[in-house]
């Protein structure tokens, strides 16, 4: 992939960092493993930016630890998330997964921000996450943190329904390595590994890489599909160097990943995709006597090639080149022994280059400021408030595609949005905790929904284009929830009630093709990405976990109801968005784990109620397909041959439930076995 970085952007990146660099002070970055071992439970910074115990967070949060990952039958991050309350994982195809939090299931879910060590891996070109392109291996993950509900006040646009922050392991004082080699049915093959190496007491090196492949599921002939369907393949490599000087910790690194898979686009057409992504990143963390300062910057490049058969002139590859530059600075300030203030600023430049949009380049700049106040009036009560102001400037430049369906001046646009979060925690006795929290956040229209211009294949004698709109506004989300958790010895119980309101949800045109007719220079029809209405999701989550001797257990149940005021679903369906149809009403998960010396056994039972999911039929017509309710069984058995080497077999959907993937393409059973090395 060709990489070009304008000098002006680099200068800005450097200048921003230098201007915010504080006076020298002593430092310590967050060592999650050490802190977890000290307080006896996982520690996260994903909710407020400051380290907090998992049991005392001002937001609904899941922390999946390294131990959980090693025992799980899951083989990717969505697979790990799917067993928690309030989380929907749709495996549309063998390669494409979407994770939705508390409803709003749709392909290319733009509402969940995904980060690796604070660096965005969410892809801005279409507003989605390719979970096979994260550039991080399960073997190198310290913990996975999921914050349910809007988290925009800390993370900005697109953390509208939640955030997944994947934290990788730090380089320790001794070399460590983890590797997995596995083979399975359906062509499953994977080789993945990570290595941490302290070069000197002050400098550490970390490297990770993987190659993986598997066959695509059988796609029914009743569904529209490309002439040839890709199998899933990915290659990833990443590395970084950490240096500690006088207590200041600096990290610099990068990565490259390639992924090929078939996906359901937002339009619900199946399309073969080929993604290449690269990144460079750096960060500096310092402690001070009054708190700490962190500077962070990264550049992500994406080259996305969308498959033949999805556009009219199929000989032209639909290539989208996205580049994002982000610089962030934040400071934690201890106001006194218990109260904390966090201040942050951020600049990001986001650019999409393609021949299939209004102009050669569609871009925006965002400048943000945020603040968080964490107050503890007494030992029983804490109050957290956070706010963030984002100012966005939209631009276009380069050659304008003709005929133009918008006025170029429509792209010279700016807007400001304020998002916030607030929470009150009340300790009720030594073991109980009441949490009331809520917030307002925004989902930004993706660069494609602002400016795309795609010719599509239709029987119409007049050319038809799907186009974005520079006039789209960010999708507004309100949320509120109340939760009570209680510990009874080793057993922990939690009950949560929540409501989430989404306003002006953006959807891709379906085959109703509500079009605009343009007559000059030749007649053409344009179907737009559009704000199609509002919906409200409310529900409850009940969770319990505990341990009895060597047996660990975790169970949860989620009920979700959706009221929607969106476009009608009568044929022809104009827009492929109906969270009420696509989100399961009932979900339940039970996870059991048993360790006996060298043997470890884990099993997961997952129930999902029936749904209807969008897909184009072979006719082609956009339809809602019934997906059966499903009871899926996953399991993993591991046997340690030596303290460092384990042989394992694992399987997903052993019960062969068609609806386990919650996709129009039925799920199959995938079984694999292999060796896992860890020292």
């Amino acid at each position: 992939m060709r990489v070009s970085v304008p000098c002006a952007s680099l200068r800005l990146l450097l200048l921003t960092g230098v201007a915010l660099c504080p006076a020298a002070a002593l430092a310590q970055a967050v060592d999650y493993q050490a802190l977890q071992e000290t307080v006896g439970e996982p520690v996260t910074t994903s909710v407020t930016g400051k380290p907090q115990r998992a049991s005392e967070l001002p937001a609904s949060t899941v922390v999946i630890t390294r131990t959980d990952i090693a025992r799980s039958p899951a083989r990717d991050v969505p697979g790990l998330l799917k067993t928690y309350a309030g989380v929907d994982v749709n495996r549309w195809t063998a390669g494409q997964s979407d994770v939705a939090v508390r409803g709003g299931v749709q392909t290319y879910n733009a509402r969940l921000l995904v980060l690796v060590d604070g660096r965005q891996v969410y892809l801005d070109h279409y507003g989605m996450t390719d979970w096979n392109l994260l550039g991080v291996q399960l073997e190198e993950i310290q913990q996975i943190e999921l914050v349910r509900g809007p988290a925009n006040a800390l993370f900005g646009f697109n953390a509208a329904s939640g955030v997944v922050n994947i934290i990788t392991r730090r380089v320790g004082d001794a070399p460590s390595a983890a590797a997995t080699a596995e083979l399975g049915n359906h062509g499953i093959g994977k080789l993945a590994g990570s290595l941490t190496l302290p070069i000197t007491p002050m400098i550490g090196l970390r490297m990770a890489g993987a190659h993986a492949r598997e066959d695509e599921r059988n796609v029914s002939s009743r569904l529209a599909q490309p002439l040839r369907v890709f199998d899933v393949a990915s290659d990833q490599i990443s590395g970084d160097v950490t240096a500690v000087f006088d207590g200041l910790e600096a990290v610099i690194g990068g990565g490259h990943a390639v992924n090929r898979q078939v996906e359901y686009l937002p339009s619900q057409l199946l399309s073969n995709q080929h993604y290449l992504s690269s990144n460079v990143h750096g960060s500096v963390a310092r402690d001070t006597s009054w708190g700490g300062v962190t500077l962070n910057g990264y550049i992500n490049w994406l080259n996305a090639k969308y498959g033949a058969g999805t556009i009219a002139n199929a000989n032209d590859a639909l290539v989208l080149k996205n580049r994002i530059i982000v610089t962030q600075a934040s400071s934690l300030v201890s106001l006194d022994s218990t109260n904390m203030l966090r201040l942050g600023v951020e600049y990001r430049n986001n650019r999409l280059v393609s021949a299939f949009q209004f102009a050669e380049r569609i871009a925006y700049d965002v400048v943000s400021g945020n603040a968080m106040l964490d107050l503890h009036p007494d030992d029983r009560v804490s109050l957290t408030v956070a706010g963030r102001l984002d100012q966005l400037w939209l631009h276009q430049s380069g050659m304008i595609s003709q005929p133009a369906y918008d006025d170029p001046r429509d792209f010279d646009r700016a807007f400001t949005r304020f998002s916030f979060n607030a929470a009150v925690l009340v300790h009720t006795g030594k073991q109980g905790l009441l949490r009331i929290n809520g917030g307002r956040g925004y989902q930004l229209p993706s660069l494609a929904t602002f400016g795309s211009r795609l010719p599509i294949a239709t029987p119409s004698p007049i050319p038809v284009f799907v186009a974005g709109s520079p006039r789209l506004s960010p999708v507004l989300m309100w949320s509120g929830e109340m939760s009570y958790s209680h510990a009874l010895g080793a057993t922990r119980l939690e009950a949560t009630a929540f409501v989430t309101r989404t306003e002006n949800a953006i959807a891709s045109p379906g085959d109703g093709l509500q079009t605009e007719l343009f007559l000059s220079p030749q007649p053409s029809l344009v179907a737009r990405f559009r704000a199609t209405g509002n919906y409200t999701t409310y529900g409850t989550e009940l969770s319990a976990s505990g341990a009895i001797g060597s047996l660990t257990w975790r169970g949860n149940y989620t009920w979700i109801h959706t009221d929607e005021q969106l476009t009608a679903l009568t044929l022809p369906i104009p827009y492929a968005l109906s969270p009420r149809s696509t989100t399961p009403v009932h979900k339940a998960n039970l996870t059991l784990g048993y360790d006996a010396g060298r043997l470890s056994i884990a099993g997961v039972a997952r129930y999902t109620s029936a749904t209807r999911q969008f897909a184009f039929s072979s006719t082609p017509q956009l339809l809602l397909y019934h997906v059966d309710d499903a009871l899926a069984l996953d399991a993993r058995v591991g046997f340690r041959l030596t303290p460092a080497l384990e042989a394992f077999v694992a399987g997903e959907n052993l019960s062969l439930a068609n609806g386990a993937a919650v996709s129009p393409i039925p799920a199959d059973r995938r079984v694999r076995g292999g060796l896992r090395l860890a020292f």
């Binding site: 310590q28 060592d31 307080v39 006896g40 934690l332």
Partner: protein, 167 residues
């Protein structure tokens, strides 16, 4: 050569009133600048006090031949409080229960030698005579006395301080 074991929570689980040694040793790793090499810990106890003696013995067993934490190794020796002297040669002192009458003199010695004092006795921390208090039931609670830390010239990393209770 003595074998050194890594810290694992849950090993050698202490009684409720006794110091949780794995956590106490972990606390040492958050001192700034980060300690390296061998750290010798004094287990301060009163030979005439059964509870103090029992706790000292329990701590000694938990530390065993040594515990590795970060880039350092912790080893511990029992030191009768009557013979602690200036605590020279020690960087950390585990203050057992039953030493309330001696806590004042322990604090004076620790401040002079810049020794980090850690105890399961909450009162020792609340009165500013110990720097860190560790209790593990019903869940781990770590208390840091700011004034005592300042007096002993002990500084902790901010990430650690954000997770503990400072008084």
């Amino acid at each position: 050569m003595l074998a050194v074991g890594p810290i694992a929570l849950g090993c050698a689980a202490p009684l409720a009133a006794e110091l949780n040694v794995p956590i106490a040793v972990r606390v040492v790793s958050f001192v700034q600048p980060s300690p390296t090499g061998l750290i010798t810990v004094a287990i301060l106890y009163d030979p005439g006090d059964a509870a103090s003696e029992a706790e000292a013995a329990s701590i000694e067993r938990a530390v065993g031949s040594g515990l590795s934490v970060g880039r350092s190794v912790v080893r511990a020796h029992r030191v009768p409080v009557s013979t602690m002297g200036s605590l020279s040669g020690y960087r950390v002192a585990f203050v057992t229960a039953g030493l309330r009458t001696e806590q004042g003199s322990i604090a004076i010695a620790a401040n002079r030698a810049s020794v980090l004092t850690i105890s399961s006795d909450r009162a020792c921390v609340q009165t500013g005579r110990c720097v860190v208090g560790v209790t593990a039931s019903p869940k781990v609670q770590i208390t840091v006395n700011r004034a005592a830390a300042r007096a002993a010239n002990i500084r902790f990393g901010s990430a650690f301080l954000m997770l503990v209770k400072e008084i």
